[in-house]
Amino acid sequence: MSPSVRLQEMIRVIRSARTQGEERGLIQKECAAIRAQFRQSDNGARTHNLAKLLYVHMLGYPAHFGQMECVRLIASPRYSEKRIGYLGAMMLLDEKQDASLLITNSIKNDLSHSSQHVQSLALCTLACMGSAEMCRDLAPEIERLLGASDSYIKKKAILCAVHIVRKIPELGELYTPLACSLLSEKNHGVLHSAVVLITELCERNPDTLRQFRKTVPELVHIMKGLIMSGYSPEHNVAGISDPFLQVRILRLLRILGRCNDAASDAMNDLLAQVATNTDSSKTAGSAVLYETVLTVMDIRSESGLRVLAVNILGRFLLNNDRNIRYISMTSLQKIVQTDHTAVQRHRGTIVDCLKDQDASVKRRALELSLALVSATNIRTMMKELLVFLSTCPPELRAHTASGIFIAAERYAPSQRWHIDTILHVLITAGGDVRDETVPNLIKLITTASELHCYTVLKLYRALITDISQQSLVQVACWCIGEYGDLLLKGECDDIEPMQLTEDDVLDALETVLQSHMSSPASRAFALTATMKLSTRITNNVDRIRSIVSIYGSCIDVELQQRAVEYNALFKKYDHMRAAVLERMPVIDKSSPGDTLGDLTGEVTKDSSLSKPVPGGSTLPLEPASQAFDLLDLLGQTDTVPEASHAESAAAPDPAGPSTGRDLLDLLGGLETTVVPSVTVYEKGGVSLKLQCDSQTETAVTLTFTACNSTQNDITKFTLQAAVPKSIQLQMKAPSGSVLPAGGHSAITQTVVLSNPSKTNLKMRVRLSYSNQGMVCQDTVQIDSFPSPAWT
């Protein structure tokens, strides 16, 4: 088509438009002109108009009014008009447009046109946007053309057939017999298309696949010819003869050889030959090698070949071209699952790729490195990964951190190393770690009891240098609170000692409390730690008291609540403070309540402390590893063996009861359904029943139920219990102290007995109540318990 002056003019004008608005205006004017001209059916300028319209369409403006024009142009006898008409059809029409059906007939006619250029136009269009109906109509035509002698048309017809097969897989059978014969073509273009067709047929239909397996020797022969042949100027790309065809054939071989031993055997030699002979200095050669590697990995090849393939990938890693490194790492990622040892050999190179500039290469290298970590190389790998963590881009940090944690957990050679590694990660990237890192680390630290001194010194040092990493701050505060006395002792084997005064430590904690960088959770940690220190240090208890009372009027409800309760601990329950703030026992990893204890660690403390009497402090002492403790969260906690009295303290934690309920739901199996109850006391109308609720190896939960069958109400009913010295007793608050007459309702009281030494259980219970003004007291000894206590 001769370039229209007006077309070029229009393009130039549009491109010189300075603003979007200007451009839009110009285009609208042009479109209006084009529309007017279309309506006139002016013969001469139709092509130019459509060309202009196509340009406008490429820029993104609506051009659907040109569709009918396309149809008209296609039907015209002149080549130039047909050309632009088909181009327009390919660009503007697609399956969803109705106008596409209109051109079916035109295409049909053109397919039998004498001029091959017209035929090729039609084939192009069909292959580009042929809908299913069009394909169905025209399939026989294509079949006829497949047998045509002209290779130019044959190529296009074959690719058209590919498109048809993609759209309507059933029609594949139509082309199968022809496809076989096409393999014997000499023309590379036809061969290439034929291979594509066969590939497509095989992928769609497993029967066809079996049929084409017979052609494997033929394909092998063709490949050999390609490799062996000398310089062929037509198809040569950088010294490789027709790499595109080679890649295609390899791909087909891959599909044919998958899961089939016979075919795979036939290919083994060829693949080895290709792998060794191809020159990989240019991209073309690398492309062929890459395809070979993929093929080797997919078919049932022998192990020598696989090692060769992995070595090729290793060689790719050393290549300067970033693209090649990238794809080799992608493939190694897939291979590392199956051939781990083979990939290990290239570990050094992969680790070097961590230092590459490109972000996607770094990401791949990271994934591969994490996959390659094993027990033997953990120390060196970890060093590299930690270096990477400090230099890596922010989006990869979280992934790196979690990968490091997983690897450390699996392969840590020693606890100290493990703790060091985690500390290092927290210091470098504390902001990007997941939330469960903090409780996990705390769990780890408590288990490594001989390292407490070392750990707490390190954490202290980290804390005073930088308080912006929240996870680090939280762990540090917790440790300082727990092991503050070790910190002040200042002596430690593995690390240089630091002489600290109590003021220094308190200063550090106060900095955390007051800093605006601290999150509320960190502040809560710091406050609790300060409180714990009150038992660990001797001189500055007043300072601690003043800190705690300041926060009693803090805006943050959580902090305020804690502060008030700690205050109460100082004032009214000072005698219990030491017991309350004792060191925590080692958290047991395997018990079911464990994760709950960790996750709700803070909430557990809150919910227990939110109960009226802060004596519910046994909870922090025995974190949920003792399952029955969780019942406390539901019941009103009360360890004072005297009768309880309700006292309103700070605002009860709303989350407490609900979390307690959740926890109990999670541990659903705690509640026993049918349990026998034994009457242990019956006198004067008052009866006391004993029921064993639940039992673990070292603890038992009992419920006393008191019933009144007299005519009068009984008031001030209390129970007191005593057990042998080896057993610990905890009595919860009773449900009430009034027994109404007639046995309508009963008072229940839960008692928890913990028996670590598993001695025989005996209990003496004293009841006292007031009946019609008279105070009665009675004692009863319980020697046997309803369910087998301990055998």
Binding site: C124, L159, G189, H192, V237, T283
Partner: protein, 93 residues
């Protein structure tokens, strides 16, 4: 370079990016070579092609595309053959 369930393979030539969208399973490097092949043909056809050539003669560019790629696959890899065809087509118009 992953886009929905396809891959995008691109090559930069001066200020232009030539992008090809292929399946995830296809060989990246082969298509990289395909891009280069295509650009070389364009170069030959337009005699030291530049960006403006492509803009003003977009319909011709489409012709080249049709010659080399069809139905989503590489059709003709031999540059000489493609150029012969293109010259013939040009004489028709």
């Amino acid at each position: 370079m992953l886009f929905r369930n396809f891959k995008i393979i691109y090559r930069r030539y001066a200020g232009l990016y030539f992008c090809i969208c292929v399946d995830v399973t296809d060989n990246n490097l082969a298509y990289l070579e395909g891009i280069h092949n295509f650009v070389e043909v364009l170069n030959e056809y337009f005699h030291n092609v530049c960006e403006l050539d492509l803009v003003f003669n977009f319909y011709k560019v489409y012709t080249v595309v049709d010659e080399m790629f069809l139905a989503g696959e590489i059709r003709e890899t031999s540059q000489t053959k493609v150029l012969k065809q293109l010259l013939m087509l040009q004489s028709l118009e």
